[in-house]
Subunit: 326 residues, 2 copies
Amino acid sequence: MLSEFDLITEYFTRPARTRAESAPAVALGIGDDCALLTPTPGMQMAISSDMLVEGRHFLPGADACQLGHKCLAVNLSDLAAMGARPLAFTLALAMPEAQRPWLAEFSKGLFALADRHGCTLIGGDTTKGPLTICITVFGELSPGTALRRDAARAGDDIWVSGTVGDARLALAFYRQEFAFDTPLADACANRMHAPTPRVELGMALAGTARAAIDISDGLAGDLRHILQRSGVGASVDCDSLPAGPDLASWPRALRRRFGLAGGDDYELCFTAEPAARERIVQLAQQAATTVTRIGRIEAEPGLRIVDADGAAVDLALTSFDHFRTA
Amino acid sequence: MLSEFDLITEYFTRPARTRAESAPAVALGIGDDCALLTPTPGMQMAISSDMLVEGRHFLPGADACQLGHKCLAVNLSDLAAMGARPLAFTLALAMPEAQRPWLAEFSKGLFALADRHGCTLIGGDTTKGPLTICITVFGELSPGTALRRDAARAGDDIWVSGTVGDARLALAFYRQEFAFDTPLADACANRMHAPTPRVELGMALAGTARAAIDISDGLAGDLRHILQRSGVGASVDCDSLPAGPDLASWPRALRRRFGLAGGDDYELCFTAEPAARERIVQLAQQAATTVTRIGRIEAEPGLRIVDADGAAVDLALTSFDHFRTA
């Protein structure tokens, strides 16, 4: 049987030559009581932690490779929303039993994404238990450039990266919330199972954009965190939202609802002064990501959803809450 | 009902004035996509992550205050084993439901220990799920002073802090492994439920001791990690082990077995050159911790257990392994 130490050696310890290029920051990796990082002089360290539980954040029997990808992706997305460059991460993994095929696939998906972003696994924990994955990720950024939730100012444009709503559409398909005429497109399913963290865009925006957040619980709910922390309000044109290619062919009411209140998109919602518009578009192009202006920060508190003509739209949206949702 | 954001505000966000004194390192705490730490110039960051699962690392219905203490204690113990000064930690918490009395007790135990060591909660995650607690802890130390597992040298003394075996004795009591004439002493139960991380001792030893590890899976098994990583062997006198006050009154065979193979003690096992003996005792006194010499590092690989006369003792010990133990 596979022991705790064997499985760490076999699936999570990698020869030095395959390690990500950021390795100079890693003074000591897996195998001791602690890992040691040598911070770049003058830089701040950005830290985020996310826990994914089977049956809650992913379906029982989820593809292990996609799951390995997703649990790191949601953490890298937090670094992106801060504007930080990924350095390293720890992985704590509880699972009912140590199965070789599952571990091989999980670590494949995990390391493929980690390598793409130069992010090194430096330690963690493995234990028996209900399938639960907790990753803590470390990045760095220059002091004063972080994209904080409390930095939005009245008059700022509100932007969103990529497209929104397709992850929610995939969930609706799996839940059979309504009738689908055709099978779910792979691209749409991937928005839910294997989201793309906007790491390059976040790093590019640091120091230029003002506030940012990643969209995990739904655009409207996540934007509200920015509004509350910044003490401002906003108007958002719900028909300007860049709908995912699959959601785009559905009726307007669904586009509005899934665009504003669908979670799991892992796009960035950010604000910037109007004078930075050209610069923002330029930075997004360099990061190979589209960006769309969807509204404006206003002094009056509250989030106002309007249509293309500026008329109020009442959608009664709710954001995802782990302790209020069955 | 208590929402995810309410429970973070109520139980895990603290007014600035009650925060630990290390707060200058914390540039941004709970409430954004990431926390921001400002590393002390020239220092390395030590990072460790531990996950505790109900029914695995603690009994169902465990006292919430002690549990809050323990899940941070095991992480601080990893910092201690590296010789690092605690700075901050993240907490990821999955629980079946958000109950106010449980959260109040859990956070009380957690913060009491955190404050004792100037360790600030800077972020994390809460979600619905089987009770699982994952803490990642951050400390710092001067480059070159870390107590690494690969640093033991032939000729080094082997030391252990405090006493060993009482945590294992408490477990034997709960499991009814044999007959106990009297109820379990509180002090003995506390060794299992509320271990004391040897943070001050670890910091004091950094730069003086060579290798170190904290005893979580049993002294013999944990010492073997040092031996393997350092490419050395050792002799340990199993009758020199400082037995816990409760274990001390039990027969020698049990003292030997629980001293060498009992887990959950969270004492430090470390090595140092014989020339440092006086200095080690002095540093331990300053850290208000006893230390005992229990053996010696040798060039010949393997761990040899001997009695006070130097005769070999065969105890057929096994170390704890999460995937081999039912």
